[in-house]
């Protein structure tokens, strides 16, 4: 609490990437990831080129490489899954260091690791160069239903409030000598979760009444209309188009 409400993922800077309208960036990242997923996995060099493209974007956006690499750690659970692949997949077998591994499984593991990592890196770049509010505005500009955008914005706005509420409940429990040790303590924790739900829901009711009393009728007023010029779209399209070129080359060669 008291740490301000800028989300920790956003990294403020002024760069060409930060300056692009949010909906251009979201569309570009989505198309890029789609192109990456559609690339044949045998074209190993293509994934290297994709990584170079993302590295170039990182450099242009003045985001420290270490930051991106650290946030890549979120995909560790999938790495574990990918490492299982060579053992369970069927087909031709090959001996590596005395282990019998499936060739198909090795390709599968590579496929998931490469595409998953590139996808995570692209999302991380998007989140660290775009403000939360701008992201939501961008999603709305991309014709996501406005009700969904509103729900998402309420979730983001009150996420910290509800999390803090939960933290205060934990402190209250602990200051009364409670430590959760095993399944026997689940009743207490579940009561906290129930209380948290009731508090969140009632807060929602109060927020709604406060909004209605200020003239809310189901739609949020648009204060700043974000528009993108043709030049901005063109600049945002550089990344997916370059990736598309790589992908097509990969299909032609493979």
């Amino acid at each position: 609490m008291g740490a301000g409400h800028a989300h920790k993922l956003y990294r403020h800077a002024s760069s060409p990437v930060h300056g692009l309208p949010p909906h251009c960036k979201i569309a570009a990242v989505f198309c890029f990831v789609l192109v990456v997923v559609a690339t044949p996995r045998e074209a190993v060099w293509a994934f290297g080129l994709y990584a170079l493209l993302l590295a170039a974007v990182t450099a242009v956006a003045r985001i420290p490489a270490g930051l991106v690499l650290r946030r890549l750690l979120i995909e560790v659970p999938f790495v574990a899954f990918a490492l299982l692949m060579p053992f369970v997949a069927r087909g031709e077998r090959v001996d590596v260091l005395g282990l019998s591994l499936s060739v198909e499984g090795l390709w599968g593991a590579w496929n998931i690791l490469a595409k998953g990592t590139l996808g995570v890196a692209a999302s991380v770049l998007l989140a660290s160069t775009t403000e939360l509010r701008a992201l939501l505005l961008g999603l709305e500009r991309l014709r996501m239903p406005s009700l969904l955008v509103q729900i998402a914005s309420f979730m983001i706005r009150y996420g910290d409030v509800v999390t803090d509420e939960m933290r205060r409940m934990r402190i209250a429990r602990e200051s009364r000598g409670f430590t959760a040790r095993g399944t026997r303590d689940w009743g207490v924790l579940a009561k906290s979760a129930g209380a948290l739900f009731i508090r969140s829901y009632e807060r929602g009711e109060r927020v709604h009444l406060a909004m209605v009393s200020r003239g809310y009728a189901g739609a949020m007023p648009v204060i700043d209309e974000v528009t993108a010029s043709r030049a901005q779209w063109a600049r945002a399209a550089v990344l997916p188009l370059a990736a598309l070129a790589v992908c097509l080359t990969g299909w032609v060669i493979a």
């Binding site: 989300h7 993922l9 789609l34 990456v36 997923v37 996995r41 979120i74 995909e75 659970p77 999938f78 692949m85 369970v88 997949a89 069927r90 198909e104 390709w107 599968g108 496929n111 998931i112 595409k115 998953g116 996808g119 995570v120 692209a122 999302s123 998007l126 989140a127 939360l132 009700l147 969904l148 729900i151 998402a152 309420f154 979730m155 009150y158 996420g159 409030v161 509800v162 509420e165 939960m166 959760a180 040790r181 095993g182 399944t183 689940w186 924790l189 579940a190 009561k191 906290s192 979760a193 129930g194 948290l196 739900f197 009731i198 969140s200 829901y201 929602g204 927020v207 709604h208 909004m211």
Partner: protein, 358 residues
């Protein structure tokens, strides 16, 4: 588990994306109805949806961070699909979980952007719909007491998690990028998720119980369980209550639940039913001599593998056939029902006209 990019191939990702978008669109309408409380919800009360669903999404997001210790340093956490469905209704539940998944994907890179459709379809839609359908069925079937709500919540959450695992296996069978035997994926996924489901079930049941104890009116799935109001004269005789106008609504709800249950049975149970060894062997015999299969089989790998693969396809097609069958039956039945009801309505209006004329 959030599916990353590259796990499912591009065409199936796009297809599940379309499924997820359709489900979210349906839920957007449904959520307005759940919060509006009237059939004219789009004009009245529908505007409550955004703040309430937003706060519930924030709650789900926070509750996923609440650690439940299991033993020896391991701990689990809530997934929240079943809980959201029971507490705020299936449509709002789908919206909340979808928004949580969307934000996790876009902000925290947890779950791939192209896999968003897969994630929403199996974690938001399947979990919520299966758990809510089961919960309502059980609540209707069990005696009207508070413990039955807890029991229903337990079973609903317990089934919903492996159901999501089944849905994932189905998606993987259609568009998985690695040729892992579907049988193995299925056993591993369902095995692990039955365990996770047990934890989820315990937490969900306890949490629903806690909310029921304080604000039973907030538990959407348990609405209508309260005893209806009884009017008594001064001498204690019970007055006959007015015929409630809400009957058609609850009818429709029961029908929805029945439909979902029928589809689930047709899709999933036929899927399970034919996994019994007998059916497996039989179909393997029938299909093993297929010329196309033999052509594959001579390639490099034991024949058995391809037979199993073929059977897998059979099972899925069995499930799909069941779903299509239910759909066709339902369409025919609905047609008959609509015709009959329209005729009855016409007769009734004619009768009332006559009365007015008198």
């Amino acid at each position: 588990m959030h599916v990353p990019d590259g796990f499912i191939d591009a065409p199936v990702s796009l297809a599940t994306g379309a499924v997820a978008a359709a489900a979210v669109a349906v839920s957007l309408r449904g959520a307005r109805r759940e919060h509006g409380g009237t059939s004219h919800a789009s004009s009245y009360g529908g505007e409550r949806t955004a703040p309430l669903a937003g706060l519930v999404a924030a709650f789900v997001f926070a509750a996923q961070m609440l650690n439940f210790p299991v033993a020896a340093g391991t701990s689990g956490h809530l997934l929240g699909g079943a809980l959201a469905a029971i507490l705020v209704g299936p449509a709002t539940g789908v919206l909340c979980i979808s928004v949580v998944l969307l934000m996790q994907g876009v902000l925290f890179a947890d779950g791939g952007l192209t896999a968003l459709g897969v994630n929403i379809s199996d974690m938001a839609v399947v979990t919520t719909v299966v758990s809510y359908a089961l919960f309502r069925l059980l609540v209707k079937a069990l005696p009207r007491r508070r413990p039955s709500v807890t029991v229903a919540a337990f079973v609903a959450a317990l089934v919903s998690v492996p159901a999501a695992a089944c849905a994932f296996t189905l998606i993987y069978a259609l568009g998985g990028t690695t040729d892992v035997p579907i049988g193995k994926v299925f056993t591993a996924m369902v095995g692990v998720h039955v365990l996770i489901g047990l934890g989820e079930a315990a937490i969900t049941a306890l949490t629903v119980g806690a909310v029921m104890a304080v604000r039973p009116d907030l538990v959407h799935g348990a609405r209508g369980l309260a005893r209806p109001l009884e009017l008594r004269n001064a001498d204690g005789t019970v007055l006959q209550p007015q015929v409630s106008t809400a009957a058609p609504r609850s009818n429709r709800r029961i029908m929805t639940v029945g439909l979902v249950a029928a589809l689930a049975l047709a899709g999933f149970v036929s899927y399970y039913a034919s996994t019994s060894p007998d059916g497996l062997e039989k179909v393997a015999h029938d299909k093993g001599i297929d010329s196309k299969e033999r052509e594959h089989a001579v390639k490099d790998s034991p024949l058995a593998d391809y037979q199993v693969k073929d059977v897998d396809d059979e099972r899925i097609s069995g499930g799909l056939a069941g779903v299509i069958g239910v759909g066709a039956t339902l369409a025919a039945g609905t047609g008959v029902f609509v015709v009959v009801r329209r005729r009855r309505d016409r007769a009734e209006t004619a009768a009332s006209d006559r009365i007015e004329a008198v």
